[in-house]
Symmetry: C3
Subunit: 113 residues, 3 copies
């Protein structure tokens, strides 16, 4: 169960490609772990791997959810993801449109709650 | 009026398409509700609508403003927007370049303030 | 030196073009000022310049780092950047995947620390 004041999070997640982002994103909305997901256009990741700097094409998506649902969303993303360690960061919304915040909370409330 | 310590916000907003994002973004800068706006490349939104999972092409933009100006920015976006309920989330900047933060505050200070 | 609880930041930075974003992004990872960088696809910036509203194509990247490393990252970006005043905002991660947060902290720990 969520309360009216449950903080809304803007969660940034990387994925191997657009198809993986779409597959995970759809699951999150279907399972009410996110109110909506935005599949971002592809980007290039720069990171260190075995001592070398690598560049690779990948995808990212943003999931809008609540703090109360974050842990379930996080675990589900990890379970569905091809990466051993995806980038998964939740940025808190300090402010927002009150109707939109209420919609995110309602969409992610558990049916069985 | 804003104070030196007025928090700077990174505001994420979705729009129906690139033209709507551009029209709203220009108005926000013209009216000093945002110091600058970045019109992001298009993305795909996934959401639930009347019980079904839908996917739709849409646009998004980021507006950089201050907490003091957020409510006026929010109301203006709602007034200009074609959506009944746009995604509108303000993520606070915990840190930033001090000169850039000062520039955002100066650009969004009201002329009549 | 960083502690286990050092906050992780999602840092949004604009650049003149994709090549500048890549050049700065690689330097940040090479110097362990960021654990990884995502070079985002190009966007259009809207801003006021000498009293007129301008639009210009530019690039942006996201650097994932820690609060302890932020000041060094900020100074390095300013030193490498062609802009007099780039957009440089650090959004704090309220939550994240614990393994990913630990990886960001480990990657950005100074070799000489």
């Amino acid at each position: 169960m969520t309360t009216v004041e449950d903080p809304v999070l803007w969660v940034y997640v990387t994925a191997a490609d657009a198809e993986e982002a779409r597959r995970i994103g759809r699951a999150l909305v279907e399972e009410r772990l996110a109110a909506c997901v935005n599949l971002l256009p592809g980007h290039t990741a720069i990171y260190r791997w075995e001592g070398r700097i690598e560049e690779a094409a990948e995808a990212a998506f943003v999931a809008k959810t609540t703090a109360a649902r974050f842990e379930a969303l996080r675990a589900r993303i990890r379970a569905l993801h091809s990466y051993t360690l995806p980038c998964l960061l939740a940025l808190p919304a300090a402010r927002g449109d009150a109707e939109f915040l209420a919609w995110v909370r309602a969409e992610t409330a558990r049916a069985e709650g």
